[in-house]
């Protein structure tokens, strides 16, 4: 029997914050619409969201590590320097596991997924995007921020949640949407141009994909159809002759490079076993991929579904959202901006900084955060075991709200956290309402961008109210 390839695990990250589109028109007098868009918090970027999605995907597995990590985004935190290496460090992957960026275009993300599904080994394919539009423009309200991670592999690697059945691809060159390096937002040609350019490419890819997999449209239980050209995507969806999944426009917005795998994750969250799921992506051509879910899906889903994350949210004011994205400059506290972190020190302490690994004293059992060569009791020197704490949960022992300290989004909520099973850390809280925090609250850890200084993003961990 030939080896089957497919999806071993998947996970999505939808940020906690939402923008109510009605607020756009009430502030600006134009734009907006109905529903909400997902908004990356001020301390999230495409890399940190990728970490969140990857942790969720790998969290559903027991000790299965990827052979490669591929990260795709059109809003990279760095150029020249690889962003996937930050995710690699946060996941504490071995240095022999390659981490690569697939950057530049929307198409890279779904292209990376296709490549991983046909390549040997286990590949963690992470896609992440933050969609910025000019205020009142279509992507201002219609865009969304999210990340996904899909672990591809073969049935030899573990139970596949969905088998990859094959697909087809078409490519076309037309300047319907474009953005030059350095610009935060895209521009587009008139709507009807893209629609007529895309439709032949969609029809051909769909027909080729059905032929390649010996499927008919009747075999397809649900299709996920997406692309940044909304009109063409709708037209494509209606022409397939199959049931089409909710595109999450009303609750998340179009999350660009992350959206195809986000909708695929959403479909897998709800699919029965043995269902055929089509992924149709309009991006400078058309990608069609077919999957068949397995009996393993029910037990292999991530702990938090896309739908659960859609429901767990808090609104952010439009003006604050604009400030987070750098579209509105607001007065910071009159304190010095932080210094750039030392790259030399950060490398020495990468297990701590990126992996949140403390140290547990072998004699006393006391966990030290940050790691320490000499313990607070017992007197032993260099007698500690690594204590990975990224997945630990804890309880707030005491807390405060700091309106004076420098922050991109004051005030700073700060808590002393006592971790279950040992370890204490005074640490910043994020995605928390200052008025709701209380002693005894439960928290979990999340990888965030603390600040950026001298162009260096300072990544570290924060606590957030436990969401599971």
């Amino acid at each position: 029997m030939s080896m089957t390839r497919g999806i071993l695990a998947y996970g999505a990250h939808v940020p906690y914050r939402r923008l109510d589109r009605a607020e756009i028109s009430s502030v600006m007098g134009a734009g907006g619409g109905r529903g909400h868009r997902a908004v990356a918090s001020f301390d999230e970027d495409t890399t940190t969201m990728g970490v969140a999605a990857a942790r969720r995907a790998l969290g559903a597995l027991d000790n299965t590590t990827p052979d490669a990590l591929w990260f795709s985004t059109v809003a990279p935190a760095y150029l020249d320097k690889t962003n996937a290496t930050v995710i690699h460090a946060a996941l504490r992957l071995d240095s022999t596991i390659p981490a690569l960026d697939f950057g530049g275009a929307q198409r890279s993300a779904v292209g990376a997924l296709r490549a991983a599904l046909t390549a040997p080994g286990r590949t963690l394919v992470v896609a992440s995007d933050i969609r910025i539009g000019l205020p009142t423009g279509p992507e201002d309200g219609g865009g969304g921020d999210a990340a996904t991670a899909i672990l591809t592999g073969s049935s030899d690697d573990g139970p596949l949640l969905a088998e990859y059945l094959g697909g087809a691809t078409t490519t076309g060159e037309f300047t319907d949407r474009w953005r030059t390096p350095g610009s935060a937002y895209s521009r587009t040609w008139e709507d009807r141009f893209g629609e007529q350019a895309y439709m032949p490419l969609v029809r051909q890819a769909w027909a080729d994909a059905l032929a390649a997999t010996d499927l008919t449209a009747d075999d397809v239980d649900i299709a996920v159809v997406t692309g940044l050209h909304g009109r063409a995507s709708k037209k494509a969806a209606s022409g397939l002759g199959v049931a089409v999944a909710d595109d999450r426009a009303a609750t998340i917005g179009n999350a660009g490079a992350a959206h195809p795998s986000l909708l695929l994750a959403d479909a897998l969250d709800g699919a029965e076993a043995s269902a055929v799921v089509a992924l149709v992506v309009l991006a400078d051509g058309c990608e069609v991929l077919f999957f068949r879910t397995t009996d393993a899906l029910a037990a292999g889903r991530p702990t938090r579904s896309v739908a659960a994350q859609v429901d767990d949210r808090a609104d952010v004011a439009y003006t604050r959202y604009l400030a987070w994205r750098g579209l509105l400059e607001i007065q910071p506290p009159n304190r010095p901006e932080p210094n750039r972190p030392s790259s030399a020190s950060a490398l020495r302490r990468t297990d701590w900084k990126h992996g949140f690994v403390g140290a547990t004293d072998r004699t006393t059992g006391i966990t030290h955060l940050p790691p320490s060569r000499i313990g607070i009791a017992g007197g032993a020197v260099d007698d500690m075991d690594p204590a990975p704490m990224a997945d630990a949960t804890g309880t707030i022992a005491t807390f405060t709200v700091d309106h004076l300290v420098y922050s991109q989004s004051p005030p700073v909520v700060f808590a002393v956290v006592d971790f279950d099973g040992g370890g204490r850390m005074p640490i910043e809280l994020t995605d928390a309402d200052p008025a709701e925090v209380a002693i005894g609250d439960r928290v979990e850890m999340t990888f965030r961008r603390m600040f950026t200084a001298d162009g260096i993003h300072n990544y570290f961990w924060k606590a957030q109210p436990a969401r599971g």
Partner: protein, 398 residues
Amino acid sequence: MASHGILDRVAIVGMGCTPFREHWDRSLDDLLIDAHGLALNSAGMVKDDVDAYWYGTSQSSASGISLATPLRLDNRPVTRVENYCATGSEALRQACYAVASGAYDVAVAIGGEKVKDGGYQGLNAFPIPTDGTNRTLTAAAMFSLMLPAYAERYGVDEDKLRYVVAKIAEKNHFNGARNDLAQFRREMSAEAICEMAAVAGPLSVFDCAGVADGAAAAVVVPAGRATDYTDAPLYVKALSLVAGDGSGLVDPAFDFTTLPECVAAADDAYAQAGITDPRTDLAMAEVHDCFTPTELVLMEDLGFSERGEGWSDVLDGRFALDGDLPVNTDGGLKSFGHPVGASGLRMHYEAWLQLRGEAPADRGVTTLDTRSRALVHNLGGYPGEMVSFVGIWGTEKD
């Protein structure tokens, strides 16, 4: 561990303190020259009488040269001292040990800070390259962590506790209003402070030490020669310093209702001085009220209140000018202002005035009939990781 102390072996024979202000028209050098001159005048000395200097500044300048140059010292040893906000007391401690050792006959401890040239409100730490994982919280927020913890542990309503610490600010403003050298010389009611906007936890800016420029200095000589310079020297009874190991930020057993470094320093100092009941042995105390919750917790850590009763002792007025044990009679950091390197010496300056009966009549303590010793407590750092100094001084030799 041995801590023998140098009971009655050295004495302060002169002190000086500049006004603590936003000294837009005075440089650090100006302030140091003024404090130095005031201290030497007070001891009846001239510059050439001084053998050695310990110069405390947290971040306003570096090395002994930055004191030797403005004072134009003639080949004298000058040691620059830094120990966070306890820098001033640490300079004095080192000067005392140098004299006690016999190495020098006359030593000056001087501390100064120029905080208002930086362009930001509040104090800001000197940036040291790190891996970027260190806390960036303000000191106000770090100390505000103690309020909910204290309320939880002792079952005190949080709003009531907020009022209690505002009463501490009210007391210190009352005292500062009677002190010409203080930065803030206006009384403030606890009610008005409670109505102010919160900046760190429930704390308002009026729960925080004043940010001021200033300098202060002390002249130290062997006890046997003290009366050559003054009729009323202050003899050292105890000098203690503890640098915490930071365990409070690691150990879940630490509950943010106490400052263990301060307890340890106080225990050591009381042993050195032979003090068994600080509440009745001390005529007054200057303590490090960097933020109002700090003074509350210190009342318990220094043994002035029973555990969990500091808040009610505050409400009872036990630490007011006319209370059982007056605390921060000069207005404290709250009202006098906090030029970091100078503050520890400023606290000693108040003990110097009070024990010698030289404080103005409207803020003089009434405890001197039966008591002749004062305590100075000076800390640097944050709950869970701090240095703490406790010194005890007296007008009588034991």
